[in-house]
Symmetry: C2
Subunit: 425 residues, 2 copies
């Protein structure tokens, strides 16, 4: 690597953009990118609101930020430059967008583009990496992994997942201590709804809260299994009768045998609209209706993916490391790769960062291995624990102010002067 780096002769600027749902640690990746590039004397522009900023020529000059401000990104949740949900079409379907990107890159001497996101973003990064040949402008593009969904191929895990996993495990543990205290006269069934529409990684992480059938969570509902009402109710009943109470963790993506989301099938609001993100109240109503138990349910929604105050140190470190590696790969002349996390040991946990080809990652989805789920489908196996446990290890509490709040960073986000006419599209 070091030889390759030294042979880099291209000069120019590096553009970094955040894409898709943000996480508790995506800004740590930004810090890794900016600090590594500064160390090499390369200027980093950031696109405002992800790829939209690149199309609109809304660029941010990160060289205007102090070293302390960049370091603070390591412990600041959200996306410091803004993110977006916007997928580029194929080059054949919308050549104008790609031509515009090249215009913006050329106008601002952008030679390296780092795109920080999930599956869709890896696809976008791959397309842009091919523009050098297709459109005659030398651009190197590196995908940088990020997603709480943990569903990127090749990489052992995704930056962002470890922290939401830790949030989920700790929340399951804490709420269960509450429920256990009160079960004699109050709530007997507690339901925690977590993110993960297509894969149960986050729900699985709740399983780290306890081990053994009497410890919470007693039941995990995965999107990988179709919901079996009879088996579910039987297990809730058996758990309450044996333990006195029952904690259920449900993925938002739980579906019935017909393949419909339970959340959609269930609750409607005052206007008759289906309520999204509401599998927990549907399950709660079912428990009440069929078993008569008092219930409570929680739906932390964005809280789970923004809770930097309880982030995993492992996750925060990996998020930083992929950012740093992405710059090293770019400056070494690599193209169409992503720095991925390779696990070299479960216990003690050891990992390293390696480059992987974007075409092995784009538009693929890593499923949860079948042997991660127990036979009854309501829990996680030892294999799952071996995989998940290291990812929540270590605390990375942000500094707090005297006011009792975390001291989250705030950037100036100074705009780079536009050089092009507005993009009409």
């Amino acid at each position: 690597m070091s030889q390759k780096r030294q042979s880099t002769a291209i000069t120019g600027n590096l553009l970094y953009a955040q894409s898709g749902g943000v996480t508790a640690v995506i800004n740590a990746t930004a810090a890794g990118v900016i600090e590594a590039a500064r160390g090499k004397g390369v200027k980093v522009y950031a696109a405002r609101n992800g790829i939209l900023g690149a199309l609109r020529e809304e660029l941010i000059d990160t060289s205007k930020e102090s070293a302390a401000a960049i370091t603070a990104l390591r412990h600041t949740p959200g996306g410091a430059f803004g993110s977006c949900r916007y997928k580029l079409k194929s080059l054949e379907d919308d050549r104008a967008e790609y031509a515009r990107l090249i215009d913006v890159f050329r106008a601002h001497e952008i030679r390296w583009f780092l795109y920080n996101g999930g599956n869709d973003s890896a696809d976008t990064a791959l397309k842009i990496s091919q523009l050098g040949n297709a459109m005659g402008y030398d651009i190197r593009c590196i995908g940088v992994p990020k997603t709480v969904d943990n569903d990127l191929a090749v990489t052992d895990c995704c930056p962002g997942f470890g922290s939401v996993a830790k949030y989920t495990a700790i929340s399951t543990l804490e709420a269960s201590l509450d429920v256990a205290s009160m079960a004699e006269t109050s709530t007997k069934v507690f339901i925690l709804e977590v993110m993960g529409r297509h894969a149960g990684w986050i729900a699985a992480a709740a399983g780290l809260a306890g081990e053994g059938e009497d410890e919470p969570p007693h039941i995990i509902l995965f999107p990988e299994n179709s919901f079996d009402e009879v088996a579910f109710l039987a297990k809730v009943k058996a758990t309450v009768e044996r333990v006195g109470w029952c904690t259920v963790v449900a993925s938002e993506g739980v579906r019935n045998a017909a393949g419909e989301f339970l959340a959609d099938a269930g609750t409607r609001d005052a206007f008759g609209h289906t309520q999204l993100g509401g599998v927990a109240p549907v399950l709660a109503a079912l428990v009440k209706e069929k078993l008569g138990y008092k219930y409570h349910w929680a739906l932390p929604d964005y809280l789970q993916r923004s809770a930097r105050n309880m982030a995993s140190k492992t996750d925060a470190n990996q998020a930083y490391a992929v950012g740093k590696a992405a710059v090293e790969y770019a400056l070494a002349g690599m193209n169409a790769v992503m720095p991925v996390i390779t696990r070299t040991s479960d216990s003690p946990y050891r990992w390293k960062i390696e480059p992987a080809a974007l075409d092995k990652i784009a538009n693929r989805e890593k499923k949860m291995p079948a042997d991660f789920l127990t036979l009854d489908g309501f829990g996680i196996t030892a294999a799952a624990r071996r995989y998940l446990a290291p990812l929540i290890q270590g605390e990375a509490h942000p500094p707090h102010g005297r006011d009792g709040l975390p001291k989250y960073g705030r950037l100036k986000n100074t705009a780079v002067a536009k050089k092009l006419p507005a993009f009409e599209h």
Copy 2:
């Protein structure tokens, strides 16, 4: 005090019971009680599941626990001995229950009863404090304050509130950073539903997340004000147009002009049941219907009151201090009092513990002062900030294990041998 303490001649055991909804720090109060009593050579029994344990003669011998196990209670959420929702009737209406309590007290030489709870518990404690005269058994009863609702009279604040206040302020801040990042193409309105059915103390604490009209939370909905749909929608719209997004924090107790809970008026589940704890989805649907904005909502439920991992140090310290003081008052021969928190300075924040008469506390409710709410009813004033800010100051992170989870304590809870026949009631 110290003279009074030394003059105490009564010998016997002390009974401690937890009551009502538990908090992140009620076990810190238990630690304060047990450590103070041990220091005086007094044995502490704990009632299993609150007053029910006293009635059922289900007592726990805390002397069987190690010093380390008791110290671990300082950072363990939930109720270590179990709690309950159970209100004693008046002595006239149910003399048998009181007679049973006296029987249990007498059988186990219980001379001091410490009851750790909210308004109802203060009432129970007051009634028991009067049994000495009414039923000829010398029992001293001390109420010990605890409630996330912060609605106890006399005391400046209630142990348990500071931590849920901190949870709410931090969650508001973190989720808002997430929303701000994504607002260009995704969620524009985020709604966080918090506890507080009758008073808006917890909702008010969200206001500590930011200051100024552009900072979150942009709108707080209090149970103290009846919901004004037109004004609410106008403020959401103006905020989204000015800031780009809008964070709303809503108390679960928000009511419409007819006095009905918005949550009740709103969502019904698949079985046609009204969904409790659901003002957030009702508001979200309203925003979507009338303004067309994409929304997300969160309902942390028990997570907010059990999140010991992000507790307020001020709160944890106060919870311990009231436990310790309760023992000192009891052993000094006081009866029918509660250790309350008296604020002596806002900034720097200073407080002390003092005894207050239970009959000034029982069955009363501290309302939020009218001057804590802004004129438009959607925010908190400088007076509210002065009051609230100190309560979330300081971090008291629990120790974490190598597994990345907080090391929460677990007691043996050794039962005291029963001496009486079962209570038939």
